[in-house]
């Protein structure tokens, strides 16, 4: 056997024999015979296989599938809102013949509000802002958190110390207070809410990313990369980032829920964009007319249940992601 494994074919003698070594004397190497095969393709194939395996795991998780279906439902109605219910249905001046405070019935599936608008139309349009803000704020918080966490974990000395103190500063800052200040100082609008939530919620992510970075940083393969001559950029983006990414993704789905609730809180406090529907705005309107004490339960419950459903769905999907990344959680 060892006769046809020439050790001479090493990198020290790069040009002995014609053609690539892949098409060497062994007949048992069909892939090597094909010169089109290159390393990058192999890597892509393996990643695809991994993705397939993870998808199979995800599919076998019933709560995650239910969560995914609920999410899909809300995303579809949010995107298709203008088609399902034209914007005129929200115009108060067009709703003069509709009864106000109508309880849910066949004519008014989710009831109507104090201005005669259909609740289901408001939920539909509110989903656009609520989900957009939830996702956008989460993405912002994740990007900041990952960058800061990686930097704090990877760089030692003064630089790492300064970043760590910055993270600590944002952790101890009362985030709701900061969000209220930001959204009252900045111009009113959806973007402001996104910034306010994003800027106040990244610190805990950074902490998690940092601790994961520290544990990966001490692995031998990081040392090996250094020996191969790798600099900070290679180690940060080729080893550390892929290693913390699954954690960040799992954290993302769990944070979206929090961000949606934060958006509702800010809108409820009247700090959102009052010209746009959002579930928090609906809740605020319901409080303005004392819906809960006047017995208009549908006015309070519908936006509340919508928030609950979306947050729950994100959490269920997030838990499934976590279980895929961390097999030890599966049996729990």
């Amino acid at each position: 056997m060892s006769a046809d494994t020439p050790a001479e074919a090493g990198p020290g003698s790069p040009s002995n024999g014609p053609g690539p070594r892949g098409s060497g004397p062994r007949g048992a190497a069909p892939r090597g015979a094909n010169p089109a095969v290159d390393g990058a393709k192999l890597v892509r194939e393996r990643r695809l296989n991994n993705a397939k395996k993870n998808w199979a795991l995800f599919r076998s998780d019933v709560p995650a599938l239910i969560g995914a279906v609920v999410l899909l439902f809300f995303v579809v109605i949010a995107v298709a809102a203008p088609l399902i219910a034209p914007a005129t249905m929200l115009d108060v001046t067009k709703q003069l013949d509709v009864p106000r405070y109508a309880p849910p019935s066949l004519d008014h599936p989710l009831g109507t509000d104090d201005l005669g608008r259909e609740m289901w139309v408001r939920i539909l349009w509110g989903a656009r802002v609520s989900i957009l803000v939830g996702v956008a704020a989460t993405v912002m918080s994740m990007v900041i958190g990952t960058i800061m966490g990686l930097a704090a974990g990877h760089f030692t000395g003064l630089f790492g110390g300064i970043i760590m103190r910055l993270i600590d500063f944002f952790i101890v800052l009362p985030s709701l207070l900061l969000a209220i200040v930001l959204s009252s100082v900045l111009e009113r609008g959806v973007f402001t809410i996104v910034v306010a939530i994003g800027l106040t919620s990244w610190a805990s992510t950074a902490r998690i990313v940092r601790s994961q970075t520290l544990s990966v940083e001490s692995r031998l393969y990081i040392e090996r990369a250094r020996i191969l001559g790798a600099g900070h950029r290679h180690i940060l983006f080729r080893h550390l980032l892929p290693a913390v990414m699954p954690l960040v993704l799992a954290n993302t789905t769990l944070t979206v829920g929090g961000a949606i609730i934060a958006e509702s809180t800010l809108s409820f406090l009247g700090l959102g964009d009052t010209s746009k529907e959002s579930w928090g705005t609906i809740l605020k309107n319901s409080m303005d007319v004392s819906a809960a004490t006047s017995g208009y339960w549908w006015y309070v419950l519908t936006p509340g249940i919508a928030i609950l459903l979306v947050v729950l769905a994100f959490t269920m999907v997030g838990r499934a992601f976590e279980a895929i990344i961390n097999p030890a959680l599966r049996s729990r």
């Binding site: 050790a7 074919a9 090493g10 020290g12 190497a29």
Partner: protein, 551 residues
């Protein structure tokens, strides 16, 4: 006195994975009469640990045991929980593999010995005072000062921790001691201390000893009988000298030959292996006078809690082209620090000189990167040196990408893998590290270094974590790389046999200083420094309970 008998024992692990049930032990019958010493040798996966765990019913729930395990004539399976609890430690006790993980890190070791007494005392050590006295007695028996009883595990060295484990095993005066690889992580000198201590206790008290190890020499140094296991089956059984010196089975010969006898000309520059690496050059490279890597007056210090500690003190070292230099020493002698500083991974003290090909080592990041193209290092643990999420191809290509070598990437990777004798290379490109054996992983790590076409390879304990048969393969690969490519290598090891197997020159290190440095034949055949002599004497030799008798 208690006998231990394994009667036609088979142990199967139920597994829900696609592999189905795994048979770990198959139809093994062994006898350990009272007062006997028996060694079981085998490579990882041979089922030897599983077998001895069954003696005290310590197997996980997923294991099914067929046949009978008799302890003092009683079937272990038929004992009630209370009875087995009484048997554990009082009749038979275990020295577990890896003392580091078997001791509770947050309790004083003395308390941990007392714990064993509290749980299993047979009415002898009934009061705290008696238990305390017994604990000091035990520490004295394993040659530890009484003051060590209030130490925490992390404050003790590996050998001291192992002695605590042995003291714990002796605590309740058992009839049988079962030792699972008791010296694997230790260097030769500490290994000798532990083995002689263990053998003395066994002889004095008539305890029977069941010891398992992958190293035949270690077993034959202590045990009178030897059993060889492979893939769950018993391959050979007999008196230790007979099995070691006149083995009947091929597999036993292979195991016995894996660790060379220093001074034996047959194994000099010829590591024994079933799969030797091919030397393809008509005129293989041999050691030249051209100096590649040189260190002069190299010193390294660390800041520790107890102030500044000097790990390396004024070391002079020269590595020539196509030379294999082995740096030998006990753990803690500063070998690894020396290697890291030669590579520029470690800050050195003022006045230390390091040069490569006549030029001083660069300090700037970019120049250091180019330098590392020439000098590569292989880390101690192949399993940890590979990113578990990346395929073999990605692992090997990493160096090329880092160094900005873009042309003929695929050919270079395949070439490096074949130079590391991982063939056919194409079959392994997509594998991820978990799918490979220890030896294959080490080859991937070596290939990753070879892909850069370096002139010098520094290897830190390249075979310490590998099985005996794989050890020979990897060592012969190092020799082939030298002969085929003219590569120089600096190999760090605590294993003198490795130096005898492949090195041209050897440097013996003690407490950060090189005490003896010269040609392997001269240093190992005729050692001048007493430390070298001590190291050589501590290496266990095959047969005749050598360590015990020489004492």
């Amino acid at each position: 006195m208690t006998d231990l008998q394994f009667e036609d024992v088979s142990i199967t692990y139920r597994s829900s994975s696609t592999r189905g049930d795994v048979v770990a032990v198959e139809n093994v019958s062994l006898d350990l009469p009272a007062g006997a010493t028996l060694g079981i040798a085998g490579e990882s996966g041979s089922g030897k640990s599983t077998l001895i765990m069954s003696a005290l019913r310590l197997l996980p729930k997923s294991a099914r045991l067929d046949g009978r395990v008799l302890l003092g004539g009683q079937d272990v399976r038929e004992l009630s929980f209370g009875q087995i609890r009484a048997v554990r430690w009082a009749q038979a006790s275990i020295v577990f593999q890896g003392a580091l993980h078997s001791l509770n890190p947050v309790r004083e070791v003395g308390q941990q010995i007392i714990e064993a007494l509290e749980h299993h005392s047979k009415g002898t050590w009934t009061t705290p005072q008696k238990r305390q006295d017994r604990m000091f007695e035990l520490l004295a028996e394993v040659n530890l000062e009484a003051a060590k009883s209030s130490a925490y595990p992390h404050e003790l060295s590996g050998g001291q921790k192992q002695r605590i484990m042995i003291a714990m095993a002796l605590a309740c005066e058992p009839d049988i001691i079962i030792a699972d690889e008791p010296t694997t992580a230790l260097d030769v000198i500490v290994q000798k201390q532990i083995l002689t201590g263990l053998a003395r206790l066994v002889a004095e008290r008539g305890i029977s000893l069941l010891m398992i190890s992958h190293d035949l020499a270690v077993l034959s140094a202590v045990c009178a009988d030897l059993a060889i296991m492979r893939d769950g089956r018993l391959v050979e059984f007999g008196p230790s000298d007979e099995v070691c010196l006149a083995p009947r089975e091929d597999y036993t010969k292979q195991l016995a030959g894996a660790f060379p006898q220093i001074g034996d000309p047959e194994s000099r520059l010829r590591p024994k292996t079933q799969r030797p690496a091919e030397v393809a050059r008509a005129e293989p490279f041999t050691m030249t006078d051209e100096v590649v890597l040189e260190a002069k007056d190299l010193s390294v210090s660390f800041d520790t809690r107890r102030g500044r500690e000097r790990a390396v003190r004024g070391v002079d070292l020269v590595l020539r082209k196509a030379e294999i230099l082995a740096v030998v020493g006990q753990s803690g002698s500063g070998k690894t620090t020396l290697a890291r500083s030669l590579l520029g991974l470690q800050e050195v003290e003022e006045g230390s000189q390091r040069s490569f090909a006549g030029k001083p080592l660069p300090r700037k990041a970019k120049a250091l990167r180019t330098f590392r193209r020439q000098v590569q290092m292989i880390l101690q643990d192949p399993a940890g040196s590979l990113n578990p999420k990346r395929s073999v191809y990605e692992a090997v290509v990493e160096g090329l990408r880092v160094q900005g070598i873009r042309d003929r990437e695929y050919e270079r990777v395949v070439g490096a893998l074949e130079a590391a004798e991982l063939t056919p290379a194409e079959d392994y490109l997509e594998s991820i590290p978990q799918e490979l054996s220890g030896g294959q992983r080490q080859r991937v790590v070596i290939a990753g270094a070879l892909a850069l076409d370096p002139q010098v390879l520094i290897a830190d304990e390249p075979v310490a974590s590998l099985d005996a048969s794989v050890r020979g393969e990897i060592l012969s690969l190092f020799l082939a790389l030298k002969k085929n490519l003219g590569m120089s290598a600096l190999i760090i090891t605590h294993d003198l046999g490795l130096a005898w197997n492949i090195a041209d020159t050897v440097a013996v290190m003690k407490s950060g200083e090189i005490v003896e440095y010269g040609e392997v034949d001269r240093v190992l055949s005729d050692p001048q420094h007493e430390y070298t002599q001590e190291l050589l004497a501590a290496v266990p030799r095959l047969g005749s309970q050598s360590l015990v008798r020489n004492e």
